[in-house]
């Protein structure tokens, strides 16, 4: 029987067809992402309270922002946040993934248990942790009851020196399981024969880890680090729910500063300015990592 051949559309036609299928997603993206983003840039040059008449003031908002002590505090806190999040959850996630990957029957159980905090709504988890960290009937009462009286006096969310770290701890509790699952997925892709060969060659566990595991999961590791840096610049939920950026501005991040200016002070124009700079910082961090990758950090 002779096979019938379906005539393929002309190359030019196929090209337009691709655009046709991409168009709906592009339109949605343009309306809901690109336009509001452009509006943010636009309003960053205006004195605007969010509902009234906007007044063009040129670069005045930018000048004010670079002289605003609160902005620098928020930026500094964001950098501390990044430093915490690109180290602790990555190290913890990787370590736990290595252990959990060796489990056979109980692996799914531990994966689920560790991942569970990630699916709890931040608002709910944040409020629950606020109760735990309450100075009078939270963990402090437990610490006092076991004799750790001084530690039991700690104001976990009320001391300006530690409030940021207390919130970061809670966010880490929520986040590290996600990192672990990502690493677990990457570890399962590593070719087992590589480890077998290394064993034959007499490699130690540490050598296996540094010469096989790390290079094999490097794309995942890089992705996680880039994602964490960008997410860290945008972090908002736990801080807002637990401390609102306080006490004072001890746990203020750029996102909470944006929100405070937009919805407490009703300075939407100024908040837009901070948003623009926040986005530029994220893009800059991403660009730096891309350069590092190209220079051989990636496998």
């Amino acid at each position: 029987m002779q096979a019938t051949t379906v005539p393929r559309p002309a190359k030019k036609h196929r090209k337009w067809l691709v655009y046709f299928f991409v168009l709906p997603a592009f339109l949605l993206h343009f309306i809901f992402i690109a336009l509001p983003s452009l509006a943010t840039v636009f309003y960053s040059f205006f004195d605007w309270n969010g509902i009234g008449q906007a007044t063009f003031i040129g670069l005045q908002n930018y000048r004010e922002m670079f002289q605003d002590a609160d902005f620098y505090v928020a930026l500094q806190n964001n950098l501390k946040w990044i430093a915490i999040f690109i180290t602790v959850p990555v190290a913890l996630g990787l370590l736990m993934a290595l252990w959990v990957s060796r489990l056979q029957k109980t692996q799914m159980f531990f994966r689920t248990i560790y991942f569970l905090p990630y699916i709890i709504a931040a608002a709910m988890a944040g409020r629950i942790w606020c109760s735990y960290l309450n100075p009078y009937f939270g963990i402090n009462s437990v610490l006092k009851s076991i004799g750790l009286t001084e530690l039991g006096k700690t104001l976990w969310l009320g001391d300006k020196e530690i409030a940021l770290y207390s919130v970061a701890f809670v966010d880490l509790w929520h986040f590290w399981g996600f990192v672990m699952v990502m690493f677990l997925g990457a570890l399962q892709q590593v070719e087992p024969t590589l480890y077998e060969s290394a064993k034959v060659e007499g490699a130690t566990k540490l050598q296996e880890f540094t010469n096989i595991t790390i290079p094999s999961i490097m794309p995942t590791l890089t992705f996680i680090v880039i994602t964490i840096i960008m997410w860290s610049f945008l972090t908002f939920d736990y801080v807002w729910v637990m401390t609102g950026g306080g006490p004072g501005n001890a746990s203020e991040l750029i996102s909470t500063l944006v929100y405070r200016n937009a919805y407490s002070f009703y300075r939407t124009g100024y908040a837009s300015t901070i948003c623009v700079v926040q986005t530029l910082l994220s893009v800059l961090a991403y660009a730096i990592l891309q350069v590092v990758k190209k220079r051989g950090w990636d496998v």
Binding site: N49, G50, I51, G52, Q53, C130, S131, L133, N134, P135, Y136, F137, L155, W156, L157, G158, D159, K160, A163, W240, V241, M242, T243, G244, G246, P247, G248, N249, R260, Y263, S264, F265, Y266, T268
Partner: protein, 437 residues
């Protein structure tokens, strides 16, 4: 021929549908969206039973889309900024009402006030603060509220303590409470809600600065640096530093936690608005309710007063819909029987007198006591100014947002007062300070 028949049939069909269309037009339902700050089942009951239901009985073609909303002003502003927004909105207070009106988002309610005679019912002081010097009514005053002192009666009687009437008495009592082993005399939880600092600032503007000095400040005759005014802030810090309010840990305690500590007897006193009378009843608290103490010699115990909310109407509403909204609001001010019933059902008091002849004896004693206390203060003129009603929006927001930094010593008093004065000066120059009673 076939075409002609078809045409005839279509015409007949359309003609038969015409009466239905007219009927549909006759039964057209008008929906009024109302974003309200009252929430929960109680809020719905108070709104529906004493306001919406009687209105709908008169207007069967109207639907009320009641939207209970937390953090109302913020949500209203976001909705209005998005170009939508409700037809009727309950907002926090006169300064918000003024801002919305000046932004062109809400209508002048002066014609409605005049037409329905609300000015004859609503307290003059309340209507004055929502009326601009040009006579524009930016919002119709809803409930009034003020700051009070509460004491756990069981504990205080047990120890023989009495409610303080002066700052000296408060300091002595606070020391005795600490000696007796209580966690603190009182706690104000501001964690995550720095706005709570306004409660204390409003109290101190009334009981430390005093009514006249605060009025002078808001009219530009005094500044934040005058001792009567700056003393408001230094006294607050002194109370915070010396442990009259908490253990320098107010940022680590939520408002609800602070209340829970008071209910459970971990603290002995509380300072809140008069809404807390109802919280006390709900939690079976046996409590003393008094005006806050006098904090400075020569300044009487003062009830810091505020318009606790306003009704505003969206400027994009059609005149027909606006008229319906006015008729709805009129029930609040023209039906003393329904008003009294709503108070007995737990609603807050409006800025209108309560006609006691309509009370049926269901009102709890603490509510009656509170009403007697606040009405006496109003009669004697011992009323102060709550910041959220009488201070310009940005001044009050800065005041409470930066309170933590000031209390912790991260913000110098001079800088704190200086920034508030700078903001106030702009408003004084532009004539945008809310009217002062």
């Amino acid at each position: 021929m076939k075409k002609l028949v078809s045409l005839l049939l279509v015409t007949l069909l359309l003609a038969s549908l015409l009466p239905l269309t007219v009927m549909a037009e006759e039964e057209e339902v008008i929906t009024i969206t109302w974003m309200d700050d009252r929430t929960g089942e109680d809020g719905w009951y108070q709104r529906y039973e004493f306001l919406i239901k009687p209105f709908l009985e008169e207007h069967p073609n109207v639907e009320i889309d009641w939207q209970p909303t937390q953090d109302i002003t913020k949500q209203v502003k976001i909705a209005l900024a998005a170009g939508t927004g409700p037809d009727l909105m309950s907002i926090d207070g006169p300064s918000d009402a003024l801002e919305l009106y000046e932004s062109g988002r809400t209508v002048d309610l002066a014609p409605a006030v005049e037409k329905y005679g609300w000015d004859k019912v609503i307290y003059d002081w309340a209507l004055d603060v929502t009326t601009t010097p040009e006579g524009v009514v930016t919002g119709v005053p809803a409930q009034y509220e003020g700051m009070l002192f509460y004491g756990n009666k069981d504990i205080m009687d047990q120890y023989g303590w009495t409610m303080p009437t002066t700052y000296e008495e408060l300091k002595t009592l606070a020391a005795e409470i600490r000696e007796a082993g209580f966690v603190a005399p009182m706690i104000l939880g501001t964690q995550n809600i720095p706005r709570r600092n306004e409660w204390w600032y409003s109290t101190l503007f009334g009981c430390y600065a005093g009514r006249e000095a605060t009025k002078d400040l808001l009219e530009g005759h005094k500044t934040f640096f005058d001792p009567e005014i700056s003393g408001v802030f230094t006294t607050y810090k002194e109370m915070w530093d010396t442990g009259i309010i908490g253990n320098q840990d107010t940022f680590a305690v939520t408002t609800d936690d602070g209340r829970a500590m008071y209910y459970s007897g971990m603290t002995v006193m509380n300072m809140e608005g008069d809404w807390f009378v109802l919280n006390g009843i709900e939690n079976n608290m046996n409590q003393y309710i008094t005006l806050p103490p006098s904090f400075r010699e020569g300044v009487p115990q003062t009830y810091a007063l505020s318009v606790g909310g306003c009704y505003a109407v969206n400027a994009s509403c059609s005149p027909e819909k606006q008229e319906l909204i006015f008729e709805l609001l009129d029930i609040l001010y023209s039906r003393p029987d329904l008003y009294a019933a709503s108070i007995e059902a737990g609603a807050q008091v409006n800025c209108i007198p309560l006609d006691e002849q309509y009370l049926t004896g269901k009102l709890a004693q603490p509510v009656l006591d509170k009403l007697a206390l606040t009405e006496k203060a109003m009669e004697e003129g011992n009323v102060g100014h709550c910041t959220w009603t009488f201070f310009p929006q940005d001044v009050r927001v800065y005041m409470y947002e930066k309170a933590d930094a000031y209390l912790m010593g991260d913000l110098a008093l001079e800088d704190y007062l200086g920034e508030m004065q700078r903001m106030l000066d702009v408003h004084l120059e532009n004539g945008t300070v809310p009217p002062v009673m």
